[in-house]
């Protein structure tokens, strides 16, 4: 079919992967990005990308185990077929990136080297120094530039997405965007739209995310009717370095390469850390989780660091919460592999992490939740039906969601080095689905009357003018600060309903004050004030989706932790009571799963009373199980759970026999 045109919004890994594969399939692409695509937030990914590989296979690893680690890590909150498909594609994706010229680190023989990451016992993570995201992004950027020269991709950099264009049947027919320099507003008609707009960390003020990760585009899609899934699942990365403008990530690869997290046993011991003897150091992750050690999944590591600092009062410093991340014992060759992040620490903290342990604390890092999208399960393989128009397709026909912007792959907690995989995978897999979707269309964007596009442009122009004219007494930057404070305080690592309620009232107050903001820049040329103020509205909307979702979910799952609804761990000294407690624990766990193992789905309402509902999760391939990660003292839970499963299976067999013989 001639003149197929697709708009891709966002030029990070997912958007570029989608654009490149669409171009390969002969589809013309308009690529819209707020920044030159090389500056997308994917550059901040450091440690690596996961897949099964020859070296792990030798140790018994396979795609199924990667899949199992991913859903176990995500507390079983993700639909399993897309995750299985992603893990199956892993090795092929790394091969492709290798062919595209990514400078992966090498073994002596010239093969790709791998390191270990959190939430797995295998070394699955291929890496390029400690700047893997940057390297992967550049490889895709280069391929897209090649297609640009071929004429199949047109790039619109420094263009901001304002909203989708829906026809009278609710079908997406393109988007409207604004040139951030000249401020022109333009309609981009298209047969399908791919949203690859990334995460929304700026809702929390400072996070590990880039300045563009406002959630602005996601908010605009949500307002246009795209459902939002699992908003309350926000990953807080265990190791970051606080700064005045952002919290800088210290990659999990630091621990993957042997870095150790500790605090002095004596609270606020003011000796030079390198002079504190081993016996006076508390390696709390290693002591509590002997099996995974420093490489427990992120939600657990973050909670443990929080507990050490807040409850145990063992923070390294008295007036600031932090723990040591120690790489000083590692050899120079390992430091070399981590150079990218060690330089960041050295530059911003003026301390050499090769000789002094780093001081780190958790920071908001990734949104597991996001815009809702669909999939079609292949009943034979358990994975996806290749090319099904349902894959990555949102509830708005013609709008597809990929990358961090979607809610699909990471459940309640993402494993480190799985994000680069999910971004590239979802971008790759969406292209044939879109191609097939376009074939089902009876009318194409080019057939539609231009009056429809003119109207959309006019609508957005009017909105921009109104925003620029706002001349109240409130400062949008102040509102953003207050939003970040309340969200970080109440909707991150440890959550209480009373505090979340306070945050919801605060969001009400801020939304009200937003109506009285004043833009300091009234001009119509490169007005960054306008862009920020517009995104603030979206941040307020999504903050409500996140906070309300967190309030409604009365359980503990992955990154969402509410002590008031935690199941008490077995702690009795005598075995009989311990077993009783574990039995009770397993029963409560099952009960909680029956009630809460569901995706939160939120639908926009203009009066801010957004509709919340819960969607069954497809756990057809791996049944959910308690997530202990070999915690010391939790072995009894594992034992009782196994017994329970065996009994359950035996009971089911008896029942089946009874039915058969009847």
């Amino acid at each position: 079919m001639a003149n197929e045109r697709v708009v891709v919004v966002g030029g990070g890994l997912a958007g570029l992967a989608a654009a490149m594969r669409l171009a390969e399939a002969g589809v013309s692409v308009d690529l819209i990005s707020m920044v030159p695509v090389k500056r997308s937030h994917s550059v901040c990914a450091q440690g690596g990308i996961n897949s099964v590989n020859t070296a792990t296979r030798e140790l018994g690893d396979n795609e199924w185990l990667h899949f199992d680690d991913t859903v176990y890590g995500g507390a079983f909150l993700q639909h399993q077929p897309p995750v299985k498909e992603m893990c199956d594609w892993g090795p092929r994706i790394i091969d492709l990136m290798d062919r595209l010229g990514v400078a992966f680190n090498r073994t002596h023989e010239g093969n790709r080297d791998q390191r270990r990451f959190g939430g797995t016992l295998f070394k699955r993570t291929a890496f390029a120094g400690a700047t893997t995201g940057q390297q992967l992004l550049y490889a895709l950027d280069e391929q897209c530039r090649r297609w640009e020269v071929e004429g199949l991709i047109r790039k619109y950099e420094y263009w901001e997405f304002l909203g989708p264009m829906l026809d009278e049947n609710g079908v997406c027919r393109g988007i409207v965007a604004q040139d951030m320099f000249r401020m022109d507003i333009k309609a981009f008609p298209a047969d399908a739209v791919v949203m690859a707009n990334g995460g929304c960390g700026l809702i929390y003020g400072r996070s590990t995310m880039s300045l563009i990760c406002t959630g602005g585009a996601a908010g605009r899609c949500f307002k246009a009717g795209v459902k939002y899934g699992n908003g309350e699942f926000i990953q807080v990365h265990p190791t970051a370095v606080p700064g005045t403008d952002k919290l800088r990530l210290m990659s999990e690869s630091a621990r993957g390469e042997g870095g150790r997290v500790w605090v002095p046993r004596k609270p606020q011991d003011d000796r030079d850390p390198t002079s504190i003897p081993e016996s006076e150091r508390y390696y709390f992750l290693e002591e509590r989780y002997p099996k995974y050690g420093n490489l427990v999944p992120r939600d657990i590591a973050t909670r443990e660091i929080f507990d050490i600092c807040v409850n145990q009062k063992l923070s390294v410093e008295a007036d600031r919460l932090c723990v040591y991340l120690d790489l000083t014992h590692l050899p120079g060759t390992t430091h070399k592999k981590l150079e990218g992040i060690l330089e960041i620490y050295e530059k911003f903290q003026a301390t050499d992490p090769r000789v002094k342990p780093m001081k780190i604390f958790p920071a908001v890092h990734y949104s597991m939740g996001g815009l809702w999208c669909d999939f079609e399960k292949n009943e034979q393989t358990g994975g996806l039906v290749q090319g099904s128009p349902r894959n990555q397709h949102s509830n708005v026909p013609g709008m597809f969601i990929v990358g961090e912007a979607d809610y699909q792959y990471h459940g309640a907690n993402r494993l480190g080095a799985n994000s680069l995989l999910s971004c590239i995978f979802s971008g790759m897999v969406v292209a044939p689905s879109i191609k097939n979707y376009i074939e089902t269309l009876r009318t194409h964007a080019t057939d539609l009357p231009t009056s429809m596009f003119d109207q959309e442009q006019a609508k957005h122009k009017a909105h921009c003018d109104a925003l620029i004219a706002m001349d109240g007494d409130e400062n949008p930057y102040q509102i953003h600060n207050e939003l970040g404070d309340t969200m970080t305080r109440n909707v991150t690592v440890v959550r209480y309903n009373k505090q979340i309620e306070e945050t919801l009232s605060k969001i009400d107050e801020l939304s009200d004050r937003y109506k009285r903001i004043r833009l300091a820049d009234k001009g119509n040329w490169t007005n960054q004030n306008l862009s920020f103020a517009r995104a603030l509205d979206d941040m307020l909307i999504l903050a409500r989706v996140i906070a309300k979702g967190a309030m409604l979910r009365d359980e503990c799952r992955g990154a969402h932790y509410k002590p008031d609804f935690d199941i008490a761990s077995p702690d009795a000294d005598d075995e009989a009571t311990l077993k009783q407690q574990a039995t009770k624990w397993c029963a409560e766990f099952q009960e909680s799963n029956d009630k809460w193992l569901k995706s939160t789905i939120c639908e926009y309402s203009p009066d801010s009373d957004h509709k919340f509902s819960y969607e069954e999760v497809d756990t057809s391939l791996i049944p959910p199980r308690p997530r202990t990660y070999g915690l010391k003292g939790a072995e009894i839970i594992e034992d009782v759970w196994k017994e329970r499963q065996n009994n359950g299976k035996a009971n089911a067999d008896v029942a089946a026999e009874t039915v058969a013989s009847a």
């Binding site: 920044v35 030159p36 500056r39 091969d95 010239g110 391929q143 530039r145 300045l211 400062n475």
Partner: protein, 252 residues
């Protein structure tokens, strides 16, 4: 009273207007960098004289020196604003910090410049691996750890523009493609599959605006925030150009 930092910023409203300096005073915060200073000005755009102004337009994104967005002249030196720590700047020059847009690119507004010239140069040197397609065709070529170590620094180029700014050969009268594009050309000429397009790449690298325009001032390598061995790349490109010229002269 809290300690203030004085910042003078060279401002320009749009592409056709002239520039003028404007001064701001910002509350000092321990550990702050220049992007924080710009964020504080955006939030309270009031000049040192107490006059209402507009937020200063600037480019910034990752804030950890991997995206390349926030290049500007800080105290006259080209660098990333995010890694420019105020404490260090004040040590050198306690009275005032100056910010200016890079001078080798068209100013869009204030500190924002248009660097599309650099992306176009990447097109000219065909900075990509010419793969057959994106389907499963097995692993990439093997590579020794040594080769990877040579290649890796070149792949960290953020297209930030510092080398272009520092290069005396880049000016209104020249069409020199600049150190970054040469280095990227070399990167792909040395890649086991990239080198299949070496001849096409050399058309740009050895042609007008190519390697012959380098004046060997070696400023580029001094300002590169990623310490990319740009002069080594330039030397290699020179050799490649000689080889290419021979090949063209005698036929391959």
């Amino acid at each position: 009273m809290s300690r203030k930092i004085n910042v003078a910023i060279k401002r320009q409203y749009d592409q056709s207007s002239g520039s003028q300096w404007e001064k701001f005073s910002v509350d000092y915060e321990p550990g702050m960098n220049m992007t924080t200073v710009l964020q504080r000005i955006a939030a309270q755009p009031v000049t040192s004289e107490g006059k209402d102004s507009t937020p200063v337009a600037y480019d910034a994104c990752c804030l950890e020196e991997v995206c390349g967005a926030c290049s500007m002249l800080i105290n006259g030196k080209v660098r990333q604003a995010c890694s420019a720590l105020v404490d260090n700047l004040l040590e050198d020059k306690p009275d005032q910090i100056t910010l200016e847009p890079m001078s080798k690119f068209p100013v869009v507004r204030d500190l924002v410049v248009d660097r599309s010239f650099m992306y176009n140069a990447l097109k000219k040197v065909r900075a990509w691996v010419p793969v057959d397609g994106y389907f499963d065709r097995g692993a990439g070529p093997k590579m020794s750890p040594h080769e990877q170590e040579d290649m890796y620094p070149l792949t960290t180029c953020m297209t930030c523009g510092c080398c272009v700014e520092a290069c005396p050969q880049i000016n209104e009268r020249s069409n020199f493609i600049g150190p970054q594009a040469i280095s990227q050309g070399v990167l792909f000429n040395e890649h086991p599959v990239g080198k299949f397009e070496e001849d096409e790449r050399m058309e740009a690298l050895a042609g007008a605006g190519g390697i012959a325009d380098c004046g060997n001032a070696q400023n580029c390598v001094k300002v590169c925030p990623k310490n990319i061995p740009l002069t080594r790349s330039i030397a290699k490109a020179g050799k490649m150009a000689t080889k290419h010229a021979f090949k063209r002269f005698f036929g391959s």
